[in-house]
């Protein structure tokens, strides 16, 4: 959607008009796929075509999706969840229909022409990424510490010194066991990730999730993402099961299939820890 001259913002003008929310980039998209889904604020999703590529977008009123509004809204959990789920629903539908390069949340352009220009300028990069993602999907494997798995550090009980000293000894033993447990879990996470990455086309580790967010009972030590050939899913799933058996000190959780969010970062971004270069 194009903004009109009167809504083109100047430096400090309040944001009016409508921008274009980018969901993702595909080679092409079947109109039937788009007609079955809605974009931001239930707006229709539509294609913007250029350079042999198709960007899938929806209207984003700048009063809600302009820069200032986004700064405010991204702090609002309910807004953030709604936006993330809406965006994900579109990307997920595209991903099930074919390869897609998902856009990061809140990628808003001024108008269709700007979107088309991005497609043209980055055509080679998008095309290469789409080729790499074709026939593949992302799976997540999270690993949580299993309490009590490591052996306790033995220490003589009642070694004298009174209640205070006994408390300090006990506390020291607790801390030692805790550090030992974390070290063992961290080592297991590396082993599990290495094994999964060896099977996957590409792999990366996200930062472990905060327990206040995940609601998990124990600490997360592995938050891995793995790009898997669709026909290799059974083998991957079996490998996760085998690794869970081999590492009782970790509880593994498999999530997916995800659109390949974790495998489209631009080269200049933070390294994605690719383990094996995609074929």
């Amino acid at each position: 959607m194009r903004t009109t001259a009167e809504t083109t913002p100047t430096a400090d003008a309040p944001e009016t008009g409508t921008g274009v929310w980018l969901h993702g980039v595909t080679a092409d998209v079947d109109p039937a796929t788009l007609s079955g889904i809605t974009g931001m604020d239930a707006a229709p999703v539509r294609p913007v075509r250029a350079a042999g590529l198709t960007a899938v977008v929806s209207a984003a009123p700048l009063a809600e999706y302009g820069e200032a509004a986004l700064r405010r809204n991204l702090e609002d959990l309910a807004w953030l969840e709604r936006a993330a789920r809406t965006h994900h629903t579109v990307v997920d539908a595209l991903s099930r229909a074919g390869a897609v390069v998902p856009a990061r949340l809140a990628t808003v352009h001024r108008d269709d022409d700007r979107v088309a220009r991005v497609l043209t300028e980055r055509r080679d990069e998008f095309s290469a990424t789409l080729a790499r993602l074709t026939g593949r999907e992302e799976w997540g494997v999270k690993g949580y510490v299993v309490p009590g798995a490591p052996p306790r550090t033995a220490e003589a009980a009642g070694a004298g010194g009174g209640a205070g000293a006994a408390y300090l000894r006990r506390r020291r033993a607790q801390l030692t066991a805790r550090e030992e447990g974390q070290r063992i879990a961290a080592d297991a996470a590396v082993a599990v990730h290495t094994a999964l990455a060896g099977y996957a086309v590409a792999a990366r580790r996200h930062a472990p999730q905060d327990r206040r967010l995940s609601g998990a009972a124990t600490a997360m030590v592995l938050n891995g993402a793995y790009l898997i050939d669709r026909n290799g899913l059974a083998g991957f799933s079996a490998l996760v099961g085998a690794l869970a058996d081999r590492h009782p000190e970790l509880r593994l959780e498999l999530t997916g299939p995800w659109p390949p969010y974790s495998f489209v970062a631009e080269p200049s971004a933070e390294p994605a820890h690719p383990v094996r270069e995609p074929a």
Binding site: L77, R104, R110, A173, Q174, R211, R212, L213, L252, L254
Partner: protein, 82 residues
């Protein structure tokens, strides 16, 4: 396992499904995804803003559901949990 907007919950119980967890989704839609410099939202790719958002999220979730997982307290016997 092609279940729309659902995900297998666990390797232990691959037949159990549940909706996509928001925290897993945010790892992906905020932390990754292609960074395309939108005309308006250059700042959205800015790591500081993402951090602020996640901090707000932690605060919001914490307010809704205070952690009921006691950390190690003096005299308790189990100390493995971080």
């Amino acid at each position: 396992m092609a279940v729309t907007s659902l995900a297998p919950s666990s390797a232990d119980d691959p037949l159990a499904y549940r909706p996509v967890a928001l925290v897993d989704l945010l790892d992906r839609v905020l932390g990754t995804g292609v960074v395309i410099s939108g005309d308006i939202t250059l700042a959205i790719a800015d790591i500081d803003l993402v951090r602020i958002s996640l901090r707000a999220l932690v605060a919001s979730v914490g307010a809704l559901a205070p952690p009921d997982l006691p950390d190690v307290t003096p005299g308790s016997s189990v100390a493995v949990e971080p």
